[in-house]
Amino acid sequence: MAPLAPRSGDAIFASVERVNAELFTLTYGAIVRQLLTDLEEVEEVNKQLDQMGYNIGIRLVDEFLAKSNVSRCTDFKETAEVIAKVGFKMFLGVTASVSNWDADGTCCSIILEDNPLVDFVELPDTCQGLYYCNVLSGVIRGALEMVSMKTEVTWVRDMLRGDDAFELQVKLLKQVPEEYPYKDDE
């Protein structure tokens, strides 16, 4: 039997179980608010959101691979396209776009026009410096680490800080191929 072809983001998004968008947004908002109350420092909250995203990402990647049937991407350009077109569509229902490639193809920007996490959200003055959607950068970093890519993901533009879109910069640091894990001590 021939292997299944990769499915498009729309097709998968239509077939998975979905949750009410407002519930999702409000739940995420509650998490961020609680973190702010517990940790008080905005930098700490940013780090914690990134860590949470990382823990989500390492699990999410298997679900992504199982549902979407994508095979191994040949290069980082393809990886970024797959994340933007299939990944974001499948999990958040929004399509992102990829741009700003650098000369050697290791650094790009993923741009989100629409972000369900930030509906109804406005940052107060006490929370300047907060990356509200930092969980997304953790998710991407975690997921890519499970497919042998060490990356650094940072926010370039953030609509909650007055910019016109959400822009994530994803920089590939290195590919880490798997090594034989057992020492030769047999």
């Binding site: 039997m1 298997d62 679900e63 691979l65 199982a66 191994r72 042998s148």
Partner: protein, 169 residues
């Protein structure tokens, strides 16, 4: 010459075995060689202790992958034998058959390896392995109690897997 089994499309009905199971055993490894799951349904002969058995299986697959990629006549660029490859890259073998069993293998790009050992007349199990990978995602990955990278201790996953293994032709 005797012909066993049906066509490629519809697998032959399961041949009756002593235990009623067609699958002998299943291994699931992660990218670091940790054996996440080992279940056996029909394995009369045990030669090694568990630890050694897992190491042997993992080592076998690691070497086979390396070897099959190196021997690939269609690929232009080949790494040297023994150079670590990214999971899923290059050509990947999916099964081998001996006169007493068939071993089917699937590796996801995230390094999760699923190995199913069945009786030798089994057809192509790639779809079954994909299904098992989906089961793994649903019952294990999405389980908040489970810590990734540790052996799986989810009863629900084990039961569902047992049921599914019984139905594999």
């Amino acid at each position: 010459m005797q012909f066993f089994g049906g066509s490629e499309i519809s697998p032959s009905p399961p041949a009756p075995t002593a235990s009623g199971n067609n699958a002998h055993m299943i291994y699931v490894f992660n990218r670091n060689g940790v054996c996440l799951l080992y279940r056996e349904w029909n394995r009369p002969l045990h030669t090694l202790n568990q630890q050694q058995d897992h190491k042997l299986m993992f080592g076998l697959l690691f070497s086979l992958k390396s070897l099959t990629a190196k021997m690939d006549p269609t690929s232009a660029e080949k790494g040297n034998l023994g150079v670590p490859q990214l999971p899923g890259q290059g050509c990947s073998f999916h099964s081998f058959r001996t006169n007493t069993y068939k071993l089917s293998f699937m590796e996801s790009p995230s390094g999760i390896k699923i190995i199913l050992v069945t009786h030798p007349r089994t057809g192509d199990l790639r779809e079954s392995l994909k299904y098992i990978y989906n089961l793994y995602v649903e019952y294990v990955v999405k389980n908040p109690i489970y810590t990734p990278g540790t052996p799986i201790r989810c009863e629900l996953f084990n039961t569902t897997l047992d049921q599914y293994a019984r139905s594999i032709a």
